[in-house]
C-alpha cells in the first residue's frame, strides 16, 4: 500500500473573504456606492446633511439658556461666543411655565403635574395587558379625578356624575327581573333623571355636610401643553366608542340608520375642523335654547370628538370589510346574537386590523388640538405667538418652534411606535 495520497485528506482552513467582501468596505460598497446612481445619491445626501448640520450644530452648541430678553441673549452671544450664531433657549427656560401650564395659578402647578403623572398609571393597564386587571378600577375613576384635579372645586358633583352609572346599574338589575327590555330602558332613563333632577341637589347636600373642595380654576386660565393634553385625551377616549357605534351603524342592514350614519360621517369628513370649531363658538347659541351656555373647552372637546369619530368610523368600517365573510357566518352558526357576535368575534378582529389607522387618527387628533388657538384658547402655539409679539422676545422664532415641535414630535412618535409594537404583539397569522 503506497502512502502517496492523491486526494487531500485534511480540510484546508477557511480563508477570510477578500477585503472588498467583508466588514465596513462591503457594507459601504453595497449600501452607498453600488453603481453610479447610488454614488450620486450618496454624494448628494452627504452634501445635504453637511449643509444642514454645519448651520445647526454650531448654533446649537453655542446655545444660551439664561437670560430675560433677546437683547440680553445677543449681548451674551457677542461677549461670550464672539458673535457666532447661537441659539437663545433662554426663552424656553424663562417662559417654561407659560408654555406648559398657560395661565394656570402658579401655586397650583402641582395639580396638573399630578394629573399628568397619574395618567400613566391609568393608561398602564390599557396599554400593557400583563399588568393586574384591578388597575382598571383606577382607569375608570381617572377621568373624574383628572377633571377634579385640573378644574378643582367641590368633589361632590363629580362623585354624583359617577354615581349616575351606579344608578343605571341598580335600575337595570332591579327592573330586568320584570323584563330584559324594561331593564335596558331603565338603565338609560334612570341615570338621566338622576343627573338632571337629583344629582345637583344631592351634591349640594353632601357638600354642606362634608365639604371636600379644592380651589377651583376657570377654563380660561388653562393653556399651553396642559390644554392640548386635556383636549387630546378626552377626544381620544370619547371618539373610539362613538366611532365604533357609527361604523356599526354604517354597516347596518337597516337603511334608515345606515343613511343617517353615512350622512353624518360624510358631512363631518367633508368640512375642515376649523369650521366646526367656529360653529361651536359662533352658532351654538343659535342652535340651543336661549341662555344655554357651557364651557368653551367642553364645546371644543365635543367638536373634536365628533370630528375624529367620523374618521374613526371609516377606519373601523375598513377593518370590518376586511374580515372574511366566514367570520360573520361562524358567529351566526354558533347561535350568537348580534351584540354577542360583535363583542366576541367581529370587533376584536376588526379593531386589530385597523390598529395602525386608529392610532393614526389619534395622532391627527392630538396634532389638531393646536387649532384651538383660533377660537381663543391659548395652547402652546398661542403662547409662541404671544411671546413673539412681546418686546423682550420680538424676533425670536427658531427656538420656540423647535421646542413646540419637539414636544409634539415626542408624543406623536411614541404613539406611533406603540401602535407598531401592539400590531406585532397581536399578530396571530403565521408569516
Amino acid at each position: 500500500m503506497s502512502n502517496v495520497s492523491y486526494v487531500r485528506d485534511e480540510m484546508l482552513p477557511e480563508r477570510e473573504p477578500p477585503m472588498s467582501e467583508r466588514g465596513v468596505v462591503k457594507w459601504v460598497r453595497a449600501n452607498l456606492l453600488s453603481g453610479w446612481v447610488n454614488s450620486v445619491l450618496t454624494v448628494l445626501a452627504i452634501y445635504v446633511i453637511y449643509s444642514i448640520l454645519s448651520h445647526i450644530l454650531p448654533w446649537f452648541m453655542n446655545s444660551i439658556w439664561q437670560g430675560s430678553s433677546l437683547s440680553e441673549c445677543r449681548e451674551i452671544r457677542d461677549t461670550v461666543n464672539n458673535g457666532e450664531a447661537s441659539a437663545c433657549f433662554a426663552v424656553i427656560s424663562e417662559r417654561w411655565n407659560q408654555l406648559i401650564f398657560g395661565f394656570y395659578p402658579k401655586h397650583l402647578y402641582l395639580r396638573p403635574v399630578l394629573a399628568f403623572l397619574l395618567l400613566f398609571i391609568a393608561l398602564a393597564p390599557v396599554l400593557f395587558d400583563h399588568l393586574p386587571r384591578k388597575l382598571f378600577v383606577f382607569t375608570a375613576v381617572y377621568p373624574f379625578l383628572m377633571v377634579w384635579l385640573i378644574w378643582g372645586g367641590s368633589i361632590w358633583p363629580l362623585v354624583m356624575v359617577m354615581a349616575g352609572f351606579g344608578v343605571a346599574y341598580i335600575a337595570y338589575r332591579a327592573l330586568s327581573q320584570v323584563s330584559a327590555l324594561t331593564g335596558i330602558i331603565a338603565a338609560f332613563v334612570a341615570p338621566v333623571i338622576w343627573w338632571l333632577l337629583l344629582s345637583s341637589w344631592v351634591a349640594g347636600a353632601f357638600h354642606s355636610v362634608l365639604p371636600i373642595a379644592i380651589e377651583s380654576v376657570e377654563s380660561k386660565e388653562l393653556g399651553g401643553f396642559t390644554i392640548s393634553v386635556v383636549i387630546g385625551l378626552s377626544g381620544i377616549a370619547l371618539s373610539l366608542p362613538l366611532g365604533i357605534v357609527l361604523a356599526l351603524g354604517r354597516q347596518s342592514d337597516m337603511p334608515l340608520v345606515k343613511y343617517m350614519c353615512v350622512g353624518f360621517i360624510e358631512f363631518i369628513r367633508g368640512v375642515p375642523l376649523i369650521t366646526l370649531l367656529f360653529t361651536a363658538l359662533l352658532l351654538l347659541n343659535y342652535f340651543l335654547p336661549k341662555g344655554t351656555n357651557f364651557d368653551v373647552v367642553i364645546r371644543v372637546i365635543i367638536m373634536v370628538t365628533l370630528f375624529s369619530a367620523a374618521y374613526m368610523a371609516e377606519t373601523i368600517r375598513g377593518g370590518l370589510a376586511a374580515l372574511p365573510r366566514g367570520q360573520y357566518e361562524a358567529a351566526d352558526s354558533l347561535g350568537l346574537d348580534y351584540w354577542q357576535a360583535q363583542r366576541l368575534i367581529i370587533m376584536p378582529q376588526a379593531l386589530k386590523i385597523s390598529i395602525p389607522s386608529i392610532v393614526g387618527i389619534f395622532i391627527g387628533l392630538f396634532k389638531d388640538t393646536t387649532l384651538v388657538i383660533f377660537i381663543g384658547i391659548s395652547e402652546m402655539l398661542g403662547f409662541v405667538n404671544l411671546i413673539r409679539s412681546n418686546t423682550a422676545w420680538n424676533g425670536i422664532y427658531w427656538e420656540l418652534f423647535i421646542f413646540v415641535g419637539l414636544v409634539f414630535w415626542v408624543c406623536c412618535f411614541s404613539m406611533s411606535r406603540y401602535s407598531q409594537w401592539l400590531e406585532r404583539k397581536l399578530q396571530t397569522d403565521h408569516r
Binding site: 449600501n31 337603511p255 367633508g270 376649523i274 352658532l283 396634532k367 409634539f408
Partner: protein, 405 residues
C-alpha cells in the same frame, strides 16, 4: 289538525315589535327616525326663536351688497366696490389655488421621498425617514406658522438689495428676489401672436395624449414598446419651441427690479401664500411618501422576480409590472390626502392668506354679522369641494381598479 310547526297566522301581538326579529329592525328604525326628526325640529325651532330674539332674519341678500374691503391676493378682478359674493368667489379661488398647487407639489415630494426611502442607498433612505417622521409627527399649523415666520423675519428687506454694496442679492441671475415682503419672480409678458403659441402648446398636449393611446394600442397589438418618454418630451417641446422662434419670440419675461424701496415688475408671490403652500405640500408630502412606500411594498417580490425571469429589464419592470399594481394600492389613500390638504388650506387664517374662510367666514361674517348664513354657506362650499374631489378621484380609481370577474 294543526301541528307545532305550523306558523302562527293571525295573532300579531304588540310585543312582537320588539322580540320578533322580523319586526324589530322596523321598530328600531322608526324610533331612530322619530328621534332624528324630533332633534332636527328642536334645533330648527331653537334657531328660529333665537333669530327672532336677536331681531335677525335668515337671508342671503347680503351677498349682493358692496363688500367694502380689499383683498390683496386675487385671481380675478375685484375691488372694495365689488359685492360680498365676488369676495366669496375670490376667496374660493384662492383656496382652490393653494389646494391645487399644494396637491401637485405634495405629489412630487411625496413620490420622490417614498421611492427614495426604499432606495438601496442607506444614507438617502435614512435621510428620507428623518424627513417623513419629522413632518408627520408635528402639527401642520406649526409648520405653516414657522415657514411664515422664517419667510418674513429671516429674509432681507427690499432695501437690503439697494445701494452700492447691497447686503443681499437676487438669485438665479438676478431674476428671483426673496424679501420679507414676498418673493418676486419673473412674469411672462404676452406679445403679438402669443395666442397662436398657446394654441400650439395646447395642441401638443393633446398630441401627447393621442400618442399615448396609440402607443398603448400598438403595444397591446404587437408587443413592441416605443421609447415613450423621449417621444412625448419631443412632442411637448419641439413644436412650441419652433413656433416660438418663428413668431419672433412673442412671449417674454418681465424681471422684477428694484424701484425706490420696493421691487416692481414680475410676479409678486406673497409670503402668506408661499408659506402656506410649502408647509402644506411638505406636510402632506410626508404622508403621501408613506402611502407610496406602502403601495410599492404591497407588491409581492414574486412579481418583480417573475418579470426578471421573463427577461424584462429593471426599468421596464418598474413601469410595466410594479407601478401599475402599486398604483391601485396608492390611489385611494392619495385621494384622502388631497382632501386633507384642501381642508387644511383653511389654516390660512394663521398667516392671513385670503382664502374662503378669511373672506366669507372672516371679514364678510364680521361685517354683516350673519354668522348662521356665512357658516352654512362656507360649510356647504367645503363639502361640495370635498365631494367633487373624492367623486372624480373615485371615478379615476374605478378605471384603474383591478376588474374582478
Amino acid at each position: 289538525m294543526t301541528t307545532l310547526t305550523d306558523p302562527q297566522t293571525d295573532s300579531f301581538r304588540l310585543s312582537q315589535l320588539i322580540y320578533d326579529t322580523r319586526y324589530r329592525s322596523m321598530t328600531i328604525q322608526v324610533v331612530a327616525l322619530i328621534g332624528f326628526v324630533a332633534m332636527t325640529a328642536w334645533l330648527v325651532s331653537n334657531t328660529i326663536t333665537n333669530l327672532e330674539l336677536l331681531g335677525k332674519d335668515f337671508d342671503y341678500g347680503f351677498l349682493s351688497v358692496r363688500s367694502g374691503y380689499d383683498i390683496n391676493q386675487r385671481l380675478v378682478e375685484y375691488s372694495s366696490d365689488s359685492t360680498h359674493l365676488s369676495a366669496t368667489v375670490v376667496g374660493l379661488l384662492n383656496t382652490l389655488l393653494v389646494a391645487f398647487m399644494g396637491c401637485i407639489l405634495a405629489t412630487i415630494v411625496g413620490v420622490t421621498a417614498g421611492v427614495l426611502r426604499l432606495s438601496n442607498n442607506w444614507l438617502t433612505a435614512k435621510l428620507m425617514a428623518v424627513y417623513i417622521e419629522s413632518f408627520r409627527n408635528i402639527p401642520v399649523l406649526l409648520w405653516i406658522i414657522a415657514f411664515f415666520a422664517v419667510l418674513t423675519e429671516g429674509t432681507p428687506a427690499p432695501r437690503a438689495f439697494k445701494g452700492e454694496s447691497p447686503t443681499s442679492s437676487m438669485m438665479f441671475n438676478d431674476s428671483v428676489a426673496v424679501t420679507n415682503r414676498g418673493t418676486y419672480v419673473p412674469s411672462p409678458t404676452w406679445g403679438d401672436g402669443s395666442s397662436i403659441l398657446v394654441i400650439v402648446f395646447l395642441l401638443s398636449l393633446a398630441g401627447i395624449w393621442f400618442f399615448g393611446r396609440y402607443s398603448k394600442q400598438r403595444q397591446e397589438a404587437t408587443g413592441d414598446i416605443l421609447p415613450n418618454g423621449w417621444i412625448k418630451l419631443a412632442i411637448f417641446l419641439v413644436p412650441t419651441v419652433i413656433v416660438f422662434f418663428l413668431l419672433g419670440r412673442p412671449v417674454g419675461l418681465e424681471y422684477p427690479a428694484l424701484k425706490g424701496f420696493n421691487f416692481s415688475g414680475g410676479l409678486h408671490i406673497r409670503n402668506s401664500l408661499l408659506a402656506l403652500w410649502l408647509a402644506l405640500s411638505l406636510y402632506t408630502g410626508s404622508f403621501i411618501a408613506e402611502n407610496v412606500r406602502a403601495g410599492i411594498l404591497a407588491i409581492s417580490k414574486g412579481q418583480t422576480e417573475a418579470a426578471y425571469a421573463l427577461g424584462i429589464r429593471p426599468s421596464k419592470t418598474m413601469n410595466l409590472v410594479v407601478l401599475p399594481q402599486a398604483l391601485r394600492v396608492i390611489i385611494p389613500p392619495l385621494i384622502s390626502q388631497y382632501l386633507n390638504l384642501t381642508k387644511n388650506s383653511s389654516l390660512a387664517i394663521a398667516v392671513g392668506y385670503m382664502d374662503l374662510r378669511a373672506t366669507l367666514g372672516g371679514i364678510t361674517l364680521n361685517q354683516t354679522g350673519r354668522e348662521l348664513e356665512c357658516m352654512l354657506l362656507m360649510m356647504g362650499i367645503y363639502l361640495t369641494i370635498s365631494l367633487l374631489i373624492s367623486g372624480s378621484m373615485n371615478i379615476y380609481n374605478n378605471s384603474v381598479k383591478l376588474k374582478e370577474r
